[in-house]
């Protein structure tokens, strides 16, 4: 409930809210019930479908798909963080030779749909990369560019005194960046990085375009073999929702912890003043 919108409701308003809640709940239940009833009437939940889904080879296929999805996502995340850090350092550099190419790379890969990148790496370097590496590298190019901007914001959010102090005790510019600014930026931006993991995990599903055997690919195969689409795909969706929801809860929890530590003032990293992206996962990409 938004504090902006209401005063504390009185007894009458509370009663009205309760009646409204009941009506809305009934309407929603009826709507969902109607849809489920219609799906059942069309035979989407037939008992032989569940028999099919209980077969051990189907469970194995889903397990394999999940493993493929998670391993691609894990490699992609690690590589994206490294690639993003390199790009961010280059973009923050004092030298134009590094700054301008980094900016071009970041802006280009952020503006091009990931699906195009996946197809390009796959078709363009087909003798060099397997489907797995095509997917991972495309994910790295896109998410690395997004993370580069996250890191840059993080480095800029580290209080100026930190880099001044580091310079004052005689550190070189590269030392200031690698041992003072980046470690703090990564810590501050940890919630944003975890949110990006959710994006990466969702985006591995785009591997179906090059027939990478991820969870969605396997779910599609199962759907074809049992001749029903909705249940197998909904099952895959459920697995994604559970993992991603847990990840985003972790991100929120970390964000709150950092905000509290920042307010305590002992660490003095100033995280409390930092505007972290309030909308998790940003914009749906």
């Amino acid at each position: 409930m938004s504090a902006v919108l209401f005063d504390v409701p009185g007894p009458q308003a509370q009663r009205r809210a309760r009646i409204g809640a009941a009506v809305a709940a009934v309407l929603a239940t009826v709507l969902v019930g109607l849809v489920l009833w219609k799906l059942a009437a069309e035979g989407e939940f037939e008992s032989e479908l569940w028999e099919d889904l209980r077969q051990p080879n189907i469970a194995r296929a889903i397990g394999q798909g999940l493993t493929s999805t998670l391993s691609a996502a894990a490699s992609a995340i690690v590589l994206s963080v490294v690639f993003g850090a390199v790009l961010a350092v280059a973009r923050l550099s004092d030298h134009r030779v590094f700054r301008i190419p980094a900016a071009v790379v970041i802006e280009f890969f952020r503006a091009v749909p990931l699906l195009l990148l996946i197809m390009f790496v796959f078709f363009g370097f087909s003798n060099l990369f397997s489907d797995y590496w095509s997917l991972v590298l495309a994910l790295m190019l896109y998410n690395g560019s997004v993370l580069a901007e996250v890191f840059r914001a993080g480095v800029n959010a580290v209080p100026r005194g930190q880099s001044e102090a580091a310079s004052a005790i005689g550190m070189r510019k590269s030392q200031v960046m690698s041992s003072v600014l980046l470690p703090q930026a990564v810590t501050i931006m940890l919630p944003a990085i975890i949110s990006q993991c959710v994006v990466v995990l969702k985006d591995t599903a785009l591997g179906v375009i090059i027939a990478y055997g991820d969870l969605v690919f396997q779910a599609n195969l199962i759907a074809e073999s049992v001749n029903h689409t909705i249940v197998p795909l909904a099952l895959a969706a459920l697995i994604f929702i559970v993992i991603n929801y847990s990840l985003s809860r972790l991100a929120t929890w970390l964000e709150r912890r950092f905000a509290e530590r920042g307010r305590g003032g002992a660490g003095g990293t100033g995280t409390a003043d930092l505007q972290l992206d309030p909308v998790r996962g940003g914009a749906g990409d």
Binding site: V4, L5, K38, P113, I209, A219, T229, I230, L233, V279
Partner: protein, 222 residues
Amino acid sequence: MDTLVENRAEIWEGFRLTLWMLLVSGILATVLGTVLASFRVSPVGSLRAIGTSYVNVFRNTPLVIILVLSAAFWPTVGLNSIGVLGYSTFVTFAVLGLSVYTAAFVCEAVRSGINSVATGQAEAARSVGMTFTQSLRLVILPQALRAVIPPLTSIYIALAKNTSVAAIVGVPEAAYVMRRLSNKFTSDVYAIFLGIALGYVIIVLVLSGLLQLAERRLAVAR
């Protein structure tokens, strides 16, 4: 290069479809997202629960799954041919899927926009006797709208890029054209990629330019 020039008609058709999907699903997602946001800030508990579940479900599901499910779901519940303006039923299903997915993000953006309005504004509205609907419509939403434009800009940009996912369910938009051409003219993959990518870059630049313009138009001294 020649491949791009020779197939310009097909590429142009692809981008027209991309733009059409962007326009329609952008509008639908904005409407649905705003309704959901009003659910999420309403005093009615079950509406809040509906809004929250919607956002958690659709924001955490890969778009591919939503598009595949959308193509299977609508015909099953009886919507069999709903081609709009000469575009096929497949396009409509993809547009509905994109809208449903994007609405979850619009909802969050609008909700944080509403929460960014200073409490005093709403208190003032209430103290002059406005009802909930009046204060929302006349005082809070106009101000929230301004706070919402920057996040909405990135949502629309993401949507423009996400229309490419419809290629997976067989909608012949720009990414689909790229796959077809890459399969057909294997020696020209680099030029094809750069050409189609440039199209998307232009869409993204124009979109963010337009929304920045809107942001400046709507800006008021506060």
